[in-house]
Amino acid sequence: MTNMPLPIVAVERATAASHAALIVGIAIVLVAASLPWWGESSWMREFVEIACYFIFAMMWNLLAGYGGMVSIGQQAFFGFGGYVMLMLGNFAGVNPFIAIPMGALAAGLVAIPVSFVAFRLSGGYFAIGTWVIAEVFRLSFANVSAVGGGSGTTLTALRGIEKATRESTTYWMALACVVAAVALVYLFLRSKRGLALLAIRDNEVAAESQGIPVARMKLAVYVVAAFGAGLAGALYFVGNLRISPDAAFSVNWTAFAIFMVVIGGIGRIEGPLVGALIFWALNKFLSDYGTWYLLGLGLLAILVTLFFKQGLWGYAQQRWGWSLFPTQRKLLRTSPAGSTFLRDRP
């Protein structure tokens, strides 16, 4: 046993499929960017809406799947980003498109004091606690008459702009936000910090003993997720032009995010994408059925959680090894004779 030559070890990150996917992805983005010249305006509006759902879901996935914090209150930051954008646009004369990242930043910043309160709880009670906090946000804004109180107000700052220009710019903004959000999350998770997050998620105490600053990392993830939620919110209300506390801080945002992520597979980076596409399709064709549609969504989420613990995309990954955004590292061991021996290290 001691006479075998040492195996040569290589660390492989990307599969051939994911390289192809990257090229295809870039091509899609380029084609999509040209949409305003050949597509209908309703397509652009729909894209903006689904982009918001997707970004929000991806950030919720980051928080829950990678940060290990399940929140039912991310809509607090969604609405906060939206309201800050609106206030900057209406009252401070800032170009609303520039106000979008500013709203996101504001949401990220407000997450810091919020975390002081929220982090007192953990697990299921953390989830409900974040919901209470979101309700506080909603009730607070509903009592501020300057932004229309309970019935909300309109984004007047875009009034002077021609409709076609506004729609295309909103669309490009949405596209840019999607690409930026995906790139941000992907690069973050592939980095050392991403590995640290996985360690924390798997076993906090062990991670702490390895020198990982658990509390700081959790705060970092919480702030980033809030930033992303705020980005989605600000973008949404630029597209919608009208904001109200009930729309901005509705728990349905989180419900839809949960749905998208659970269907797609939590903790997997392509999960929210798959989930968002399925959600969009269901929304398009079934939302006319109102209550039955929502009921079906709820049932689907329950069934997937009980029977497909990895989500539908996760199931595919398990079964057929599909992976578009590889954050796994595969350990390849080659013996001198040339044969390879693959062992997965998740």
């Binding site: 039912i72 919901w131 309700e135 607070s140 209550t291 709820g298 329950i302 959680t305």
Partner: protein
């Protein structure tokens, strides 16, 4: 001011009933039921449906009939659905109960629409007992308070002095060793949820008598239940009652200051307690 506090205490009685089931389920199996409020509303509508289906039989009798149904429903729900979500990860139980919340709300919207309904009590909800000149205590709120105190005492007694209560505490302490002793944890959990659902049904019936209910009322009741449990401190049913009282009083004070800020004030006090004393005001410390 005295009247505000008294009204708050009476409201706290109702909130206690909202919260006891939550406290029980979390205490025994660390399960957070995010559909708690929706099940309460479901209970209320069950009584409403029962009353209209049986041709206006007295609502109290219908409510009593709903209780064993609730027991069986809770047992089956835990045994066949929720037991599969228990474990280290809080996500499955959260998603499943959240999904149930959506299912219940939409299931109720179909037959009942979004209009608020109430359970007719023949004027009981407007009767009052006069206390001196200035104040009058509602009869129904007093009944609610009495039921809340009895329910809390009964739960406490169950936990401390019965074999079932002992098995609840044992599986909650150490499931593996409890099974080593011969307990079937799955069945014990199911019993706990069954009892919690009886409490939920009681709370629903009383809520429907006290005020109107509509299918989407659930989430707010969940938040009240949750706040009562946290303020009171986990691990103690009397603590939950105390937390509910404090929440009720706080909300009444808030309503007094400005009707729009009542619930907001309750939320804020909850958050303050959370920051200053996260273990709650009357926690039972574990060994």
């Amino acid at each position: 001011m005295l009247e505000t506090i008294v009204q708050g205490v009476l409201l706290g009685g109702l909130y206690t009933l909202f919260a006891l089931g939550q406290s029980l389920m979390f205490g025994v199996m660390r399960l957070t039921n995010t559909a708690q409020g929706d099940f309460i509303i479901l209970g209320a509508f069950a009584v409403i449906a029962g009353v209209s289906l049986t041709g206006d039989v007295a609502p109290w009798l219908v409510a009593l009939a709903v209780l064993p149904v609730a027991f069986g429903f809770g047992y089956a729900l835990q045994r066949y659905v929720l037991n599969g979500t228990l474990g280290k990860d809080p996500l499955p139980s959260l998603v499943v109960t959240f999904g149930l919340s959506i299912v219940i709300q939409n299931l109720l919207l179909e037959p009942f629409s979004a209009d608020p309904r109430a359970i007719e009590t023949g004027g009981l909800n407007t009767q009052g007992i006069a206390l001196g000149e200035a104040m009058s205590l509602g009869v129904l709120p007093l009944v609610v308070l009495a039921i809340a105190v009895i329910a809390t005492g009964a739960l406490q007694w169950l936990f401390a002095h019965t074999a079932l209560g002992r098995s609840f505490r044992a599986v909650s302490d150490d499931r593996e060793i409890a099974e080593l002793m011969g307990l079937n944890a799955k069945k014990v959990y199911a019993f706990a949820t069954a009892i919690a659902f009886v409490l939920i049904a009681i709370a629903g019936a009383l809520q429907g008598m006290r005020t109107t209910v509509s299918p989407s009322d659930g989430p707010l009741l969940l938040l009240f239940a949750f706040e009562a449990v946290i303020i009171g401190g986990m691990g103690s049913f009397w603590g939950t009652l105390a937390g509910a009282m404090i929440l009720g009083i706080t909300q009444q004070i808030g309503f007094r200051l400005d009707p729009g800020w009542g619930i907001w004030f309750g939320h804020i006090v909850f958050l303050v307690v959370l920051v200053l004393r996260p273990q709650g005001l009357f926690p039972k410390t574990r060994g």
